[in-house]
């Protein structure tokens, strides 16, 4: 079959590989009908998250048809079912899964000794991600083996199209969780850094969860226009001061809730000297992340507000103002998304016509064009916001 394979920094190829096979009674094989490129894939593309090995298949946003199942499905999944595969592999039985903390499932990371060493404790196995999270082959491929498939799936009714359903596996619940963990109240202003796909989903989610005002921050006009379409007021951080504008919108008090939908690769620009320093340190391997957005959020957030971080950070961040964080009494909430915690509710909202996540798709191309599309998405060329690949 064909698959997008990681060979090194900025080196992704559409390779011919052997088909995946069932290894365990709880495995299933899915014929992928649609998959997508995520902002997290860009961190891997840039080799900013350690633990990738040449030969790893990329992709953690995918859906398709079940074509083969192991004999341990217990009737929960069968051949012919149409499913979205959540990017977090979940066992459904461990203590964390029972609490709904699916992204920190204790059993699915098959290389948990690595995670135990690096993070102190293991987190869930993830598709198409690093070997710290199990090194499971991803779904930017024609076929995917889904481990723990009896619990790691979201069944999709035929009335819902691929485009509407696909993002249930990652960015929609990610934006939703980012907003949900802000505990939004009807008077709240929610500020969102980054209008990429995750930011766009967070904007819609904050609105649906009843925020009084949503403010979106980015520098890419296409993305800002999409943010406005979703009900946000926008700030272009290249031409405006984020802190000043946020104060204007909130009578000088700052937003109660702040969401970082940018992550470890904040734009590097001379007008934000801290990003230059971070970039230089990254190159000399003195720092792994560029936490400009974290610094800015802590500075502008209203005292006793919430900082919600769906954006991915990989290791060590310097000069995060803990003094301000502590004295302002801010609450920090973060995490890889507990996908299945939210998907029943979100699928219902899609079916009822409340929301349709397919608005974010700007490019749909054949899988073979994947390597090129990584660069188009990364460089925001051709007004690209979200790429869907068809195997």
């Amino acid at each position: 079959m064909r698959a997008l394979v990681w060979h090194g920094k900025e080196d992704i190829r559409c390779d011919t590989v052997t088909d995946p096979e069932i290894e365990d009674p709880r495995d299933a094989i899915v014929k992928v009908t649609s998959c997508a490129i995520c902002g997290s894939d860009l961190h891997l593309f840039h080799n900013f998250i350690p633990g990738m090995l040449p030969g790893d298949i990329m992709g953690h946003e995918m859906m398709g048809e079940v074509v083969e199942v192991g004999h341990g499905m217990d009737g929960k999944l069968k051949k012919g079912d149409r499913i979205v595969v959540p990017f977090t592999i979940v066992c459904g039985q461990c203590e964390q899964c029972r609490r709904g903390n699916f992204s920190v499932c204790e059993t699915t990371n098959r290389k948990r000794h690595l995670a135990n060493k690096v993070f102190g404790h293991t987190t869930a196995g993830l598709f198409g991600y690093t070997h710290l999270t199990g090194g499971y082959p991803g779904g930017q491929a024609e076929y995917l083996r889904v481990p723990f498939a009896d619990t790691t799936h979201i069944k999709i009714p035929d009335a819902v199209s691929d485009e509407q359903a696909l993002f249930l596996g990652d960015i929609f619940p990610t934006g939703w969780q980012a907003a949900a963990q802000c505990d939004i109240e009807p008077t709240d202003t929610v500020a969102i850094w980054g209008c990429g796909p995750v930011g766009q989903m967070a904007i819609r989610s904050a609105l649906l969860l009843g925020a009084n005002q949503v403010i979106a921050i980015d520098c890419v006009p296409e993305r800002l226009s999409m943010a406005e379409a979703g009900g946000a007021t926008t700030i272009n951080f290249e031409s405006e001061s984020v802190a000043e504008r946020l104060n204007e919108f909130t009578d000088g008090k700052g937003p109660e809730k702040c969401i970082d939908a940018t992550g470890m690769e904040a734009h590097v620009m001379a007008s934000q000297p801290d990003t230059l320093l971070d970039r230089a340190k990254q190159m000399l391997m003195l720092e792994s992340d560029r936490p400009h957005v974290l610094r800015e959020m802590i500075y502008v957030c209203r005292p006793c507000g919430v900082i919600s971080i769906p954006g991915v950070y990989s290791g060590l961040s310097d000069h995060v103002p803990m003094g301000a964080l502590m004295n302002k009494g801010l609450t920090v909430r973060s995490g890889q998304t507990h996908v299945n915690r939210w998907t029943d509710d979100l699928l219902r909202r899609i079916e009822e016509g409340q929301v349709d996540p397919s608005f974010v798709i700007t490019h749909t191309v054949d899988l073979a064009q994947g390597p090129e599309m990584y660069k188009v998405f990364r460089d925001k060329r051709d007004s690209c916001v979200k790429v869907v690949l068809k195997p």
């Binding site: 394979v5 593309f45 090995l53 040449p54 009843g210 406005e228 379409a229 009900g231 016509g353 090129e372």
Partner: protein, 180 residues
Amino acid sequence: MYYVANIMRSKGDPKIVRSGPSSIEPADRLARRLGWFSIGLGAMEVLASRRITRALGMRGSEGLVRAYGFRELFSGVMSLSVDKRAGMWSRVAGDGLDAATLLSGFRYDNPKKHNVALALLMVGGIAFLDYKAVQQTVARSPRRGGGRRLYADRSGFPKGLEAARSSAKNLLGRAAVGAS
């Protein structure tokens, strides 16, 4: 072909049979080569500054050569990184500095002026490659100006933005009444 990467795969995991075209373009390759060249040259300038100044008849400039070495190392690291365009620009600027410094040593009374001329020629050639690489590597920042598509019609709410807003408010209102 044999792929080392396949050794690490578990039984049911796909293994590479044949590799397809890479996302790395010729321009990226050129930038990488120039990056490694920078690192090699930089290391030489830092570690063997005396030999270099001797060969060029420019004794006394060891400190300067070493400083250029560090500059070269930094450009090299930058050219190998994802910000290769910045790396390439810093190499072009460095070529200018190198040429200016070499020119100052290109005097009639310098017995090694032939070596200096040779070095100047090399810097010229490399500068040409650097400039080519700068032009070829695509700017990482989003393209300015025309040709943009704006997405003002993409609310994501099939029933419209206002309907979404008011149904959210209603729901919250009902929840608040229920709670009191």
